[in-house]
């Protein structure tokens, strides 16, 4: 009650192995309400796996995870939610993927309505109001009746963000959402994400966009080989990394981090 910041997500010692491959080896992270955490690291270091553990698309092999007031201990039996309980847990967390994964048999509007209507059993008219608001927010009000195949990659990804936001999630997860886009379309998606951050959305973002990390992140997490090798305020981690592996990873991006926005 005394703390001014409310913890939205708390992971402790999270592990995930696929057979003999340990993709995530004991990652801990605390995200406060309204915070933006950016996760960076070389390819294959376990960023996606870690993110997918948070909404239980992957079942962690060990550790604990708290989202809101729900605490799950993966060491204990029967702690992992199943069936409807699992679905309800995921409904509180929004996720956006690299490949957009919009539902091709639904229009942009229907895509955004799908969560509220199918999962929350919201009435169609109420869901439509929510969905139209969100489409307007991502700049696609006039594209509501288009099918995904008639939208550009950047537009599709913005619909995907609106679709996730329609569930009014407590936290949003972004997994390299601009990596599949043509360079000229990256900006429009990052702008939407910046707006969400400004509006106070709690976010965990896996990205290679270092300028975005520098400008938006409250906290940067650097992963390597399934572990967190450095963690801290964006400025510190990105500009004055203490870990040699962070330094060598960041050296590839230094031109982008250095150039400041006017």
């Amino acid at each position: 009650m005394t703390s001014s910041s409310e913890v939205m997500v708390k992971a402790e010692g999270l592990r995930k192995s696929y057979g003999t491959v340990e993709a995530v080896r004991g990652v801990s992270l605390e995200v406060d309400r309204g915070q933006v955490v950016v996760v960076i690291g070389p390819s294959g270091c376990g960023k996606s796996t870690f993110l997918r553990c948070i909404n239980l698309l992957e079942e962690p092999s060990a550790g604990t995870l708290q989202v809101g007031d729900r605490l799950i201990d993966f060491g204990a039996k029967h702690s992992m939610p199943r069936g409807r309980d699992l679905a309800r847990f995921r409904a509180r967390i929004g996720m956006v993927f690299q490949q957009f994964d919009l539902f091709p048999h639904m229009t942009a509007l229907q895509n955004v309505m799908s969560g509220p209507v199918i999962v929350k059993k919201m009435s169609k008219s109420e869901a439509e109001t929510v969905a139209r608001d969100l489409l307007a927010k991502v700049g696609l009000a006039t594209f509501a009746d288009r099918f995904p195949r008639n939208l550009s990659g950047g537009q599709q990804q913005r619909v995907a963000i609106a679709r996730a936001m329609a569930m009014a999630p407590e936290i949003m997860l972004f997994d390299e959402v601009t990596s599949a886009l043509d360079p000229e379309l990256v900006g429009e998606v990052l702008d939407v994400m910046k707006q969400l951050a400004t509006d106070g959305t709690t976010m965990i973002v896996v990205t290679h966009e270092m300028a975005f990390a520098r400008d938006v992140a409250d906290q940067v997490l650097v992963m390597d080989a399934g572990q967190v090798v450095e963690q801290g305020r964006a400025e510190e981690v990105l500009l004055r990394p203490t870990n040699p592996r962070t330094a060598s990873f960041l050296s590839r991006f230094h031109s982008t981090i250095g150039e400041r926005k006017a």
Binding site: N55, L57, G83, R84, A87, R88, F89, R90, A91, R92, I93, G94, M95, F97, Q99, D101, L102, F103, P104, H105, S114, G115, I118, V119, A160, R163, A164, M167
Partner: protein
Amino acid sequence: MILAAVYKWDFGLVLSYTHLWAKGLGVTLAYSVGTVVGGMIIGVICGLLLLVRSRWVTLPVHYYVEIFRCTPLLVQIVWFYYALPIVLQVELPDWFAAGLGLTLYMGAFATEIFRGGIISIDKGQWQASRALGMTGGELMRHIILPQATKRMIPPFVNQSIIQLKNTSLLYVVAIPDLMYTGSIIVSDTFRPLEVYTSVAIAYFVILYPLTLWAARLEARVDQ
């Protein structure tokens, strides 16, 4: 050669058995529709069972499919007609025992078609639905099946066409379908050329439009 030149075709006599022909056609169509519908129901149930994550469920379904895909249909029809009633020590109506083999055969292929349709859907669709908080039933009904059924229709229509032709095998267990009716008319008229030509034409007239329709469906699903 000489015989062919001399043979005088006479369809008049053969076609005068209108009543018998109509009944035979009716039996062929009834078995086609009945065994296709039955097989489709089996296919949906077994196809869904294959998605369950338990070997105790999927393995028996696998064996069922493989047994029916890897034995001749004629053997299946005969076995279910003659052997099954003895094995089970029950008396089955002839029309039912005769259709069992055909139905289970269709079921095996329908299972494969159903499963194939489901797993052809990109895994991103599954993860996006799960991430939104859909339960297995919800994502199946609203996301996967609407996309998958579209892809299942062409192979399903093709299999149904094959199934209609396969009903002619009912001949061996004396079910009076088009083919068996033909053999009866032959023994009455001694005109096998006209009779079997008529039988072939009848099958063709039913099936050719169906194949055209199937091709159109396929083209529409592809785009």
